[in-house]
Symmetry: C2
């Protein structure tokens, strides 16, 4: 398998943590997003995209993570059914929504030409992130129990907020989540995949 | 169940088509996105969000559609496993990526103050849409067979392109996809959910 990769993408990190936690990472060749042919492998030009051994591409990160979870015989990160499944998937959905909003905010405030930035857009997406992190704090009890894709998503999402918005520390207003994250961040899979900005 | 709803969201349409196709739509109360309490039900303030009967919210649209698919005993729209599952989920992932890009382009060119628009941003997202629709054309044979969430996603995505970008008809360059969509759009679930702009 080949993974279209970026060292700073939190969605890629979710895939890699999933792979490492279940011993699949050695089967995954990482290829730079810049060398993948977008017209073929990855028409959306997004990371992550997984090129399966049969040559077909797979996206987006929830689909890739669930596919990887189908390739091993250990405890599943995606509960098969029932409330446990919907809880894990809603946690992942909430976190992917946080990341979508945080990334749009980052692009607006760092990548877009300064004269074209729109404060309302930044405020809109900051509000989404802020309310959703409040929700994670309120539901921190849902993060107990065996490892799921929900926990992985929360860990990678909070790691991204630290990476890109470290000057706006979310911890003081979310002490239970902070305590959870301190422990979760010690996992070897999290340490190995901590984002590093090449710039 | 309550569904945070907008008449023009293609992600909401995917949920409604799923519900109608499996006879669940009468169990879903539609509530306007504006009346839902974002701090409670739906911290990301996105549609769709589904409030389940136990009061917990569910997002985003792939999770909601799969949840609805677990509530009936008819043929499943999400294949349970194997290549059929990954094919349907990758089709949905590709289409959600088209929609994400098309909506960012629409917001940039219609909602953002004119002086703050960035042509490079529009070009970036137009390119994603264009390459991904090319990919759908190349893989149109994958749309045959019994109804799946992949087909529903493709139908709703092409419907959204017609709705918002009807002046840039995708059909001439994608004749096989056009023929498929002409038939698919005749389904009662598609006719009933066709987007109407209140403005």
């Amino acid at each position: 398998m080949q993974l279209c990769y970026s060292a700073t993408s939190p969605y890629v990190r979710k895939v890699l943590v999933t792979a490492i936690e279940r011993g699949l990472d050695k089967q995954i060749e990482r290829i730079s997003a810049n060398t993948a042919d977008p017209s073929n492998d990855n028409p959306l030009a997004k990371v992550p995209a997984l090129i399966m051994d049969d040559g077909e591409g797979l996206y987006d990160s929830p689909v890739i993570c669930e596919y990887l979870d189908s390739l091993h015989q250990k405890a599943k990160l995606f509960p098969a059914e029932g409330p446990a499944r919907w809880r894990a998937l809603r946690q992942q959905g909430l976190c992917d929504g946080i990341l979508d909003a945080a990334i749009l905010r980052m692009l607006e405030s760092k990548r877009r030409p300064e004269a074209l930035r729109w404060p309302d857009w930044i405020a809109l997406h900051s509000g989404k992130v802020s309310r959703a992190v409040d929700r994670l704090e309120a539901e921190v009890a849902h993060l107990e129990g065996s490892l799921t894709i929900g926990q992985i998503a929360v860990g990678c999402t909070l790691g991204y907020l630290d990476f890109r918005f470290g000057h706006e520390d979310w911890r003081p207003a979310h002490p239970k989540l902070a305590a959870w994250h301190t422990e979760f961040a010690k996992r070897p899979s999290m340490l190995e995949t901590a984002p590093k900005d090449p710039t």
